[in-house]
Symmetry: C2
Subunit: 573 residues, 2 copies
């Protein structure tokens, strides 16, 4: 139940709306909203707040209802350790160079994981490159010369704030604080961090001795090219710089049109002090980023805005941190953020909800305030996903970087990066809107959220969207004999032209189902006695374990429609 609280600060009255909530064995009080300076105001605002909240709850409930899938197994919350073990045993992800004990922060994609990752990558490219005919992919060197990072500011500013203990152990200061105080720490100075550490008497988490120093350490990996007269360079700490550096070449190649989008899916490298949480904080990781170059005088335009104007974004605004995510209409968010920006926020949210099929209540945009965001980002909303064991996790961001990047590279390189707009007769440096995604994070999120447990059979079922599953179809002859294997092989050969499929003739049928359920194979085909007689086979649906019989002739078409989500399994009956 919510209630009003009055606080008196420096003699002034302030009213707040609080609520008690049970969390485990404790009851915690949470501030829901600031209600103003008079009691009357407070009562009105409370009414409005509670009405909005109830409306919102209804909307969320309504919208989640549509998404509910008939799932036989139950979603199971797992810890990072359980996840790591599962991922290794199934060939999704495992520590790199593991026979040598592994290396902190380095992981490999195994034979199943690489398929999942490639599917995510393909869906991302397909979705974002299709937003405009003037969006293109490029693929660039991970090694870039020092000047790039002087211009970008990375050489000076791309530092982690390290906390060093008396015995020399080094750890990220903000991680140390988060671990001890259970709160996010961003945008604080070194001194502020040191102060909080001291005040809370936080010691080294490795040896327990006191922290004696807090200061910056550059996170880039330096490299010397050549021998003798070497060239200093760095492995890039983000994929972002090369689209800026290559902007003019691609602008010319693609006939001088704006907005121009350059998408880059690739590796970036950071010397993380404390890599952790599997793929969430690695030293080498995959990003998928779209850099959109546009005319800044057109920031309040987007020719397809009407298409999304009534779409609701799930947002935590910087000044309403204590509340849950609000549902804000795109047309409404224009009061705060320009049209060009809001349009792409909508497209980003749709990617998570419609393509990756993330449950609505687990996604939100999280607005960063001026202190938290980089000085060159005029608008900055992170995408966050709620994961069991970890809470809300940053998955990427939408950043309006203004002309910061191209201007810096123009100055440093002495190359002219201005463009001329034929239509408006303007000459300017394009501004950049960046859509940034952690590709590995998406993979980990997908496995975590689709991890289900079938009590009855004591097996794991990975409830991945069919389009993303590593293997699309498994084919089982369930009776021994050449003729059954022949039909099965023919089906296998036909289907493998289009998808990754497996053929499995050994073990009980139950074991064969289980082997495929736990890597997320959405459909299994069995070839049985009746198949010989009437050229039909059964399709089994992973989520419901229901089976239905279809003709071999239509099999590929039916599967294609099932995988693409164009028909439901139940409609096959």
């Amino acid at each position: 139940m919510a209630f009003i609280v009055k606080k008196i600060i420096n003699g002034n009255e302030y009213y707040y709306l609080n609520e008690n909530k049970r969390e485990g064995t404790k009851v915690k009080t949470k501030t829901l909203a600031y209600l103003g300076k008079t009691k009357k105001q407070a009562e009105e605002k409370m009414k409005q707040f509670l009405k909005d909240r109830s409306d919102k709850d209804k909307m969320v409930e309504e919208e989640n209802k549509i998404e509910v899938k008939e799932l036989k197994a139950e979603q199971k919350q797992i810890t990072i350790e359980e996840l790591a073990n599962f991922c290794k045993s199934k060939g999704f992800i495992y520590p790199s160079s593991e026979i040598y004990g592994g290396v902190a922060g380095l992981y490999d994609y195994g034979s199943k994981g690489v398929l999942l990752k490639k599917n995510v990558e393909a869906e991302w490219l397909n979705y974002f490159l299709n937003l405009s005919d003037n969006f293109f992919q490029i693929e660039t060197s991970e090694i870039m010369p020092e000047k790039v990072f002087i211009a970008s500011g990375h050489l000076k500013n791309f530092t982690d704030v390290a906390a060093k203990c008396k015995k020399g152990h080094i750890e990220r200061a903000d991680h140390l604080l988060e671990k001890n105080l259970n709160k996010r720490f961003e945008g604080l100075t070194d001194n502020e961090l040191f102060e909080i550490i001291s005040k809370n008497k936080i010691n080294c988490s490795i040896c327990g001795s006191p922290i004696i120093y807090v200061g910056p350490i550059n996170m880039m990996f330096p490299i010397e090219l050549g021998v003798g007269n070497t060239t200093r360079a760095f492995f890039r700490p983000e994929t972002a710089q090369s689209p800026y550096v290559n902007f003019k070449i691609e602008y010319d190649v693609n006939r001088n049109k704006l907005p121009l989008g350059l998408a880059l899916v690739g590796r970036a490298y950071r010397n993380e002090l404390s890599p952790r949480n599997l793929l969430l904080r690695q030293r080498a990781f995959n990003q998928a980023e779209l850099q959109i170059f546009f005319n800044p005088s057109k920031i309040n335009e987007h020719h397809e805005f009407d298409e999304i104007k009534d779409y609701k974004l799930q947002v935590v605004l910087a000044d309403k941190r204590d509340a849950d995510a609000e549902l804000i209409l795109c047309s409404k968010l224009l009061e705060r953020v320009p049209k060009f920006y809001v349009y792409y926020m909508a497209k980003v949210q749709k990617f998570y909800l419609d393509v990756l099929k993330i449950p609505k209540n687990l996604f939100r945009f999280y607005e960063l305030d001026d202190k938290e965001k980089a000085f060159y980002n005029k608008y900055h909303f992170d995408m966050e996903i709620k994961l069991p064991d970890l809470g809300w996790v940053e998955m990427g961001g939408v950043h309006y970087r203004t002309d910061h990047d191209l201007k810096a590279h123009q100055e440093m390189s002495k190359q002219n990066l201005l463009v001329f707009d034929e239509e408006s007769k303007e000459k300017f440096i394009p501004h950049v809107l960046e859509l940034s995604f952690g590709l590995d994070r998406i993979v980990q999120m997908l496995i975590t959220l689709s991890y289900c447990y079938d009590k009855e059979k004591n097996t794991i079922v990975l409830n991945l969207p069919a389009k993303l599953s590593p293997i699309k179809v498994a084919i089982f002859p369930i009776i021994k004999g050449k003729e059954y294997e022949n039909i099965s092989q023919n089906i296998f050969n036909e289907l493998k032209e289009e998808w990754n499929v497996v053929y499995d003739k050994s073990g009980s049928i139950g074991r064969r189902y289980a082997r495929n359920d736990d890597i997320g194979t959405p459909f299994c085909i069995t070839i049985d006695e009746q198949s010989l007689k009437d050229k039909t086979v059964t399709i089994r649906d992973r989520n419901t374990t229901k089976q239905t019989r279809v003709g071999c002739k239509n099999l590929k078409n039916i599967l294609r429609n099932l995988i693409d989500g164009k028909i439901y399994f139940d409609s096959l009956k």
Copy 2:
């Protein structure tokens, strides 16, 4: 005309078959074959040789005839410089960080190049992973700890032999020699190289001063992970090690079957002393490798060998270097190389000829002799392609690496890498057959060999195989007006579901064709007056510039068949 030559060495007679050949303005004498020690023997052998050669010529002629395509433009030989300019202007490949002057040996794929590269990668994976149900892709960290490279021998042996001049310039000793003496230098010791340099009075190619030192320099990029207590690691110089290191995990995940294939497409890094020839020798490059782990006692078996036994391999044997490539039947090559190896040689050659569509006479296997190949490679044939301006260029290799790798990693890691064969009850370390491909090299080769010039129109036509072309179809409304654009947009939207296609409504039709010819778009669609009346459009074939009219309804199907090479354009009439 061929003639017999007698040489007397240490009092013994040796007979050789020589031939005079005009090369440019000079006539050169070339030794074709060794004919034995007596005149009679020599005459017989000569007869046989000439008969074989004539048979072979006929075969090559016959086989090339099938491949001849009706090409309106003529193939044009270009230099590396012309190629570099062309690749940049069309958005295929350009120097990385070019606004900063670029970095030697680092290149970026532009918006057209990345599509070509991804198509090659997809075809490679599709072809090689389909060779067995037990072949899988993995994707691994480029950073590996020092111990991996102690075990693999890279730390000690992965060196370039550098020649250092009086003024301190450093260059690869073998490149310096090749440049000056026009010959391949492999497998020589540092001292031997120094001796040849001295004897031929070869000086520094940068400043002209004498070479004073020849010795090894390690080519790997070192890296320190963490801060304080750091972990020493290296950026991998080849993709090969992680499949060995990960072998046991994947063997277990994939249910303990041999042969097991692990394919890896990824980046590798080498601190090349003299990067050159565009993508042929870079400091960061893409490899595509398939590591096949197998039971060594089964090296003389392959269950599908019969399928290729009558297939002819194009080979230069180590002891017949002076002759052109021979055509050797797979069944015949068994006298020299085991079945398992020959089977994969055939598959590799078919990949170049049938998938990449390389003209037969430009491909050969080049056998390395004991001095040239690594000591652990029991058999080693390079794949070579003949490029204008460069001659025969190494594109990859087939390497029988025995148990060298797994044994070394077992010893260093103290992990048991033995497997047990249920069938034969044997316990052993699997042997490795490696199929190694330079992915960037293939891209450069494809652009080079498909570069054609249309004299009549003074335009470039890139005669790429349709399957590999960056853009598959271009769509042009050739009459202005909403209704023409509507049909065109509908076709565009339909086709882009399946391929990368472009829509282009500006400029003369000739310019639109030219823009697409020079990036290799195989088919252009025009929408004209008649399209409105009878729902037909024209398809234009890039190579012949012929056009034909087809119904909109069948368009997608027809294009699919054309792109997949299932029908010929001429059959559409």
